[in-house]
């Protein structure tokens, strides 16, 4: 009787553990995507991400830029030469963005 109870206890514990692990085994994979600012352009122009992913803008150009989007509710403000700025995507959608200094620079963040 006592042995059976112990075995049941162990089985239950293992089950609970594995259920717990299952829940923890598939966390949303959070990735980081990089957009390079160079040649007065965003490269790539369109970056795709999932909610929870992080996008890093790296300024490899010779002067400051920004990544600014009214629709996407993000604004890096000035990103100096050699500096970078991170943003974590939350809501799904296509968000056009630009550089506050160079209106010809156009980019799109696609969160899906």
């Amino acid at each position: 009787m006592r042995v059976r109870r112990v075995i049941v206890g162990i089985v239950l514990a293992v089950l609970t553990l594995s259920v717990g692990q299952d829940a923890g085994a598939t966390p949303p994979k959070r990735r980081t995507h990089t957009v390079v600012m160079e040649g007065t352009r965003f490269q790539p122009e369109t970056i795709s991400a999932k909610p929870g992913d992080t996008i890093v803008w790296v300024n490899k150009d010779l002067f400051p830029h920004s990544a600014t989007s009214a629709a996407g509710k993000f604004d890096s403000s000035v990103i100096a030469v050699g500096a970078s700025w991170k943003f974590t995507a939350k809501t799904k959608g296509d968000f056009d963005y630009t550089c506050i200094f160079h209106p010809t620079m156009k980019g799109r963040l696609r969160v899906q």
């Binding site: 150009d61 010779l62 002067f63 400051p64 160079h102 209106p103 620079m105």
Partner: protein, 174 residues
């Protein structure tokens, strides 16, 4: 085959002729690049203090920031390559063109100043782009110097486009 070889030789001669007509060495290219940037920094400084229209003022400030950044990279590279920038006909004409522009702008104020500054910016960026494509990039011998020119070129395209946008917004506001 023979005819083909003659044709090729002929083409080479023609392109050699064009190249020698615009022949500039790396030291001269360095001087042209630094002078071209400096001229636009000086005009931008004047515009950022004197322009009446806020867009024009902002554009002037941008020219100071961007061309200062380009010139920093250019002078860093020139030092690294141990090249001494060498004055030449092109750099001298850019300098005198810049001086004339400043002298003209200093006499103007308000909307007249804004228009003259922006019109000249459109012209200037177009001229520098032409020089880059026809002379500077094809003539550059050093790979790093050529790479810098190629990297800088899109900034001139962006500035030209931006200057045209400001130009047309000035036209509309009148």
């Amino acid at each position: 085959m023979k005819r083909c070889a003659i044709l090729v030789a002929g083409t080479l001669l023609v392109s050699a002729g064009i190249a020698s007509a615009q022949n500039v060495n790396d030291a001269q290219i360095a001087s042209i690049v630094v002078t071209a940037n400096q001229v636009d920094i000086d005009a931008g400084k004047l515009a950022s203090s004197k322009a009446a229209n806020p867009e024009v003022k902002k554009f002037g400030q941008l020219m100071v920031t961007d061309h200062t950044g380009v010139n920093k990279s250019a002078t860093d590279l020139v030092k690294k390559l141990k090249v001494t920038p060498e004055d030449n006909a092109t750099s001298k004409s850019i300098k005198s063109g810049g001086d004339e522009n400043l002298a003209k702008l200093k006499k103007l104020r308000g909307a007249e100043f804004d228009k003259a500054y922006v019109d000249h910016e459109v012209e200037y960026h177009q001229q520098v782009l032409d020089a880059m494509d026809k002379t500077l990039i094809p003539s550059a011998q050093n790979a790093e110097l050529k790479a810098l020119l190629v990297k800088v070129r899109p900034a001139f395209v962006a500035h030209l486009e931006h200057a045209k946008q400001v130009q047309s917004s000035l036209g509309k506001s009148k």
